[in-house]
Structures are given as structure tokens and as C-alpha cells.
């Protein structure tokens, strides 16, 4: 009899404990080809969760993060996803790469699991196709359009159009914005003279750079992560090319400066989440947390990105919890109530609707000047309906 009572108590206690705990999956790359930026992002998410739990949690409930390193391998991602949804019973997932996110999109939709990934692929913004996918930044396509707009502004020679080349990895992430870029070049009167495909890991980009030089490009947009961008920049410096380089938010941050050093001077890049320590109201909690827990670590904009993600989805969890609908569809509905949700300047205000998952279309462009990241200008691509999903 006592045993039975104990068993009942244990079951009740377990039920109570799980009611007080919100299970969230975290799929990160800590060891794979994008681990140069993946580690920073994962750390940001983990710290963000810890901070949220220390500061009231989700209306008193704690977040429990089930984080997995999938090494940027799609089969691992699929297995980890099955494990998180099937065994760990998570109600949403904070994901990472473009390839795995796009692979999982049908599965995510079938299981009704909101999937907020660090891939800004525009293919994930159309809720009629990917209702459960979200991200927190302008899309890769809008970023490239913004950078091309900057090229147009920067180009002073009226005798001819600026010539641009695209460098991208041979993967879903690298290729994601390229079609948008090609179309935008035509619209804007920019000559796309060269496209070079870079392997997943490479130590040398000389042959690609020589091709580009031969085709006379004035600007190059590098759509790979920090390590790759730094290789291209160093080789370009060695060859003494007169080309202005630009890069995406996973290739351009304080870390690029640390790796590429003087070769990074004059490089422009898309910085949708501010660099660490930037003077914006939302930064204080990050800096305080940093001083308290790991004062000796260095952080970058990608770490800030991890935080922003947690701030966005924890707000959605709070709203879903208030509506008493703390499950996949509830969190999705909560996210779709976001209207100009302010993140204290860490990133531009976020808006999702049931018909448009583009969180923002505003893209800030930064330049590295005198060893510092300096903001040049912010471009607003506006919500054109024909660009949804492209």
C-alpha cells in the first residue's frame, strides 16, 4: 500500500515538474564546417536561456534546453530531430543551418513544431509553404539586395556599371540568395560578371580570385562563413587585387577582424545583429551576464544573435503560456502576433504575420575601418509581395 502511494506521489510529482518546465530543442554545429560561427551562436543561445531562467523564466516556468551538436551533417540533424521530438518531447526547436532546416521543413510542418533556425534563407519566409519556420533577421536575399544597393551607392564612375562577382559555398546556405542577387543585379544596373563556387573547407582561393580578376570585377560578395572569408581576403591581399569585398552575417563580425586582421580593412558586411558591446539599450543584460559568468571570454555579433533568438522565442513562449496554449501550434500563433517587437536595438524590431514570416526587411551595412566595425547605412528593402520566399 505504501508502495502504491509512493508510486502515485512520484507520478504526480513528475507531472508537476514537467508542467513547470518548458522543453526546447537546440540543434547546433559545434564540430562541423560551420563550427567557426556555430559555437558562438550556441553559446549565445545557452547564455540567453540561462539568463531567462534566472530572470523569472517563462511566467515562472523554467526553460530546459535539449542541445545537440550535429556537426553540420544532415543525417545527424534528421536523427537529432527525431530524438528531440520523439523522446525529449520538445515543443519547439532553435535550429541552425540552411541545408538541414530546408530538409526538415516538411517534417516540422507535419509534427507542428515551430522551428526557429539561424538560417535566414528566404525560402523559409512564405507561410503558405513553410508555416512552422521562423528566423530573426532580414533574409539572406534581402541582405544581398541591401549590399548590392550599397555597391550602387558606392560606385561613382558614371561611364560604366559596377561589376560584381558572387562567391558562395557549394551548399544550400551558400546558394540560398544567389537567384535573388542575379535578378536584383539586372534590375539595378549592376553587371554580374563572375560566380565562383567554393568548397566546404578550403585553404586557398587563388584560382577563384584570378578568374575574378580576369573578368574585371570591382566588388565581390562572399557568402561563406568567417574562416572561408578570411582565406579569400588574405589571398586577395597577397595577390594585391583592387577589389572591394563584402560578406554575409556569418562571414562578417568581430571574429573576421580577429582572424583576417589587416586583410579585413575596408571590407563591408551585413550586420543584422549588433556587435557585442555596441551602445544600444538592449546590450546591458548581455554585458552584465558576461561580466558575471565569463568575464575573460570574447564575443561577437553572432553571440549577440544567439541571445536575440532566445529573447524572441521566449517572448513567444510567454505569450503562448498566457493564452494557455503552450504547444507547437500555440507558439506559432504567438509568434505571429509579433508586431514591431522591440529588442532594445540588438536587432531591428521583429514582425511576423500569418501570411509573411519576414521578421524585418531592414539591413544595416557595416565597414571595417581602422580595425573597427563601423555602421555605414541601413537599407530597407520593403515588403514586396513578389519577393516573399525568393
Amino acid at each position: 500500500m505504501t508502495f502504491l502511494r509512493a508510486a502515485i506521489l512520484a507520478v504526480v510529482a513528475a507531472g508537476a515538474a514537467s508542467a513547470q518546465e518548458i522543453r526546447v530543442g537546440g540543434l547546433f554545429d559545434l564540430t562541423g564546417v560551420t563550427s567557426d560561427v556555430g559555437k558562438s551562436f550556441a553559446k549565445g543561445v545557452r547564455d540567453g536561456v540561462e539568463w531567462t531562467n534566472e530572470n523569472g523564466g517563462i511566467n515562472g516556468k523554467k526553460i530546459r534546453l535539449f542541445d545537440v551538436d550535429y556537426g553540420y551533417k544532415m543525417p545527424e540533424a534528421v536523427a537529432a530531430y527525431k530524438r528531440m521530438v520523439g523522446d525529449d518531447k520538445v515543443i519547439m526547436i532553435n535550429g541552425w543551418g540552411t541545408g538541414d532546416t530546408e530538409q526538415l521543413k516538411t517534417q516540422v510542418n507535419a509534427d507542428k513544431i515551430p522551428y526557429i533556425s539561424a538560417s535566414f534563407s528566404a525560402h523559409l519566409t512564405d507561410p503558405s509553404k513553410t508555416p512552422y519556420n521562423f528566423f530573426v533577421a532580414p533574409s539572406y536575399s534581402d541582405q544581398l539586395r541591401a549590399w548590392l544597393s550599397w555597391v550602387k551607392d558606392d560606385w561613382k564612375d558614371t561611364s560604366r556599371n559596377p561589376r560584381v562577382a558572387f562567391y558562395y559555398g557549394d551548399n544550400a546556405y551558400g546558394k540560398s540568395p544567389m537567384e535573388a542577387g542575379r535578378q536584383f543585379c539586372k534590375e539595378k544596373g549592376i553587371d554580374l560578371v563572375d560566380e565562383e563556387v567554393l568548397p566546404g573547407v578550403f585553404q586557398d582561393a587563388t584560382s577563384q580570385l584570378l578568374n575574378t580578376k580576369q573578368k574585371g570585377a570591382d566588388y565581390v560578395y562572399i557568402n561563406v562563413t568567417t574562416t572561408g572569408v578570411s582565406t579569400v581576403l588574405k589571398d586577395a591581399k597577397k595577390l594585391g587585387l583592387n577589389i572591394k569585398f563584402g560578406s554575409n552575417p556569418y562571414g562578417f563580425s568581430e571574429s573576421l577582424l580577429a582572424v583576417a586582421k589587416e586583410a579585413a580593412e575596408g571590407v563591408t558586411g551585413v550586420v543584422p545583429h549588433v556587435p557585442f558591446g555596441e551602445n544600444v539599450p538592449g546590450m546591458k543584460r548581455l554585458v552584465d551576464f558576461h561580466k558575471k559568468n565569463h568575464p575573460d571570454d570574447t564575443h561577437d555579433a553572432i553571440y549577440v544573435r544567439g541571445w536575440t533568438y532566445v529573447l524572441v522565442w521566449s517572448e513567444a513562449l510567454k505569450r503562448a503560456d498566457k493564452a494557455n496554449k503552450l504547444d507547437g501550434p500555440g507558439v506559432k500563433a504567438a509568434l505571429e502576433t509579433f508586431k514591431d517587437f522591440d529588442l532594445g536595438g540588438l536587432t531591428n524590431p521583429v514582425t511576423y504575420t500569418a501570411t509573411d514570416h519576414r521578421p524585418s526587411t531592414k539591413t544595416p551595412i557595416y565597414i571595417i575601418k581602422g580595425g573597427k566595425l563601423v555602421k555605414v547605412k541601413e537599407y530597407d528593402m520593403t515588403r514586396k509581395p513578389e519577393w516573399l520566399g525568393l
Partner: protein, 346 residues
Amino acid sequence: MRCGDFRTTYAEDMAIFDSALARGLLAALLVLLVLLPLLATGYWLDVTNRIGIAVIAATGLNILTGFTGQISLGNAAFLAVGAYSTAALTARGVPFLIAVPSSGLISALVGMIFGFPSLRLKGLYLAIATLAAHFIVEFTVVHWESMTGGVNGIGIDPPKLFGYAFDEDRKLYFPILAATVAMLWFAKNLFRTRVGKAFVAIRDQDISAEVMGVAVFRHKLLSFAVSSFYVGVAGSLLAYQARIISPENFPLGVAIDQLGMIIIGGLGSILGSVLGAIFITLLPEALRLLTGALAGSFPGLVQLFASLKLGVFGLAIVLFLIFEPDGMAARWHRIKAYWKLYPFSY
């Protein structure tokens, strides 16, 4: 009490299971395997399904490398051919029961084409030639976008049999188990036939084999075909299980892993392919559970443990090669022999 193992007829000598006990244990194991989906949770069924697929692929590689002595690094490529054939066939409405063997046959054909260099090349040179197969197939898969979906991958509908959809791991477990058992049964029997024995003769000494009247080139090609058929079937099942396949499912690492499976399990042993495939598939899972448990008590070390996983994986393989170079199958036979003579082991 009979002490030792005495055979008095050729039939006894040829028997796969040499005692009623062995047959009984195998039957019990099969019953247990059939009942497994009732016991295991969702994710572990994914793992068991991956083990089944790995067993088929490793058996295929063992036929070529372990039994015929032709080293191959093209296994990931043949796996990809099988998987993409299935994707293409199912997209055109070909049913499950036909798609799987057809994918195997397509893969066998591709395997034979890349087996041609084996006429002239041996050892490391053949390994490099099959490595070329890997890169050619990878290139084709990435760039033939209309057929393969390129780097974004391609989706596969769940298999259907008589109107019943095998749309989750729990259901898919049964066709995979059936295929694995059938493929193992065939492989085990293959090496009791003339063809199988010709394979072994080629491995042991190809010139002597030729002198004895074995058509060496024909049998080498046949070995490539049978092996790639196995791997193609594994690829086909993998496509049905993963439901989405992309070039990233078939990196060179997969071919290396499979070589690892047959080396750790035992070259030239069907049992070895099974044990090796189980070991290599479960190793990362075991390490994950272990590091997961440790990371719980030392949260600051999550990053370190993630990398540690890879190091321990390599270490386990090296230790195996040092302490059990003949593979797990040899160890299993030693354990069996010990008990056969127990308690009079002298």
C-alpha cells in the same frame, strides 16, 4: 558428455548452425527482434533501422573486400546510387517492392562499371580507382539537379504495401528487418556455392585461382555487382528511412565508416559485418549518452565534450585494431570454442 566437436558427414561440415542450441538461439533472437518495436522508444527505432541498413551495406562491402579481396572506397557512392534511384523511381510511382530491388540492380550496374579497373589494378591502386567512383557520383548528384535536387536534396514518399503506409520508424522497422535477414541468408549461402568459393580463391591468390580454372575477371566483376547490389538495397532503404536525401548523406566518411565496420567486425565473415555494423552505429550513440550524462554535471564543458566525441571514436577504433585485429567475429568464435570445451579446456 561429449567433449569437443566431431563431424562425421560432409553435410554436418557444411551446416551453418552446427547444433540444435544454435538454431534455437537464432530463432529466439528473431522473435526478440520482431517484438523489439513494442519495447523501444521512437528514437531507438531510428537507431535500429540505421543498424539494419548498415548491416546490409557492410555485408555488401565484406563480400567485395573481405571475401574477394578487392578494396573499395566507393561504398558511399554506391549507397547514393541506390538512394537516388529509389527517389527517382518512387517519384514516378514505382511501388516499394519493385523500387528496392531495382535500385539494387542499378547500383550493381554502376558498381560493375567502376569494377572494370579491377582487371588491371590491385590493392591501393584499386582503392584510388574506386575513390574516383565516389567523386564522380558525388559530382553527378550535386549537379544533376533536375533528377537529384542538387545540394538541397530530394524528398521520398513513405513506402506503401497493399495500401498500408510505412511512414514512421516503428512501421518501417519490419521491412528493413525482413530485408536484412534475407540479405544475410543469401550472403551466408553464397559462400557455400562455387561462385562464393571462387571469390575466396581470388582473394587468397588470384594467379592460383586462374590456374585452377576460375575466370578471375568475370568473378571480380560479379563480386562488384553482388556487393553493389547489397549496397544499393541499403541505399534504397536508407532513402525510405531518411525520407529526405542530399549529397551530405553520402560523404566519403560513410565509406570509411563501412570499411571500419568490416575491419572491426571481421574481414571475410558475415557475422563480422553484422557485429561491426552494430558496433560502429552504436558507438556514437553510446558516446553521446555518456558525454550527455557528464555534460549535465559539468555544463561548462559542453563544447569540450562535443569535440571529445570524435576523439574517443578514433581511439576506440585504434584500440580495437591493436587488441582484436581479427575482428569481433574471431573473438566470438573464441568465446564459443571456450564454452564448447568447458570445463575440460585442455
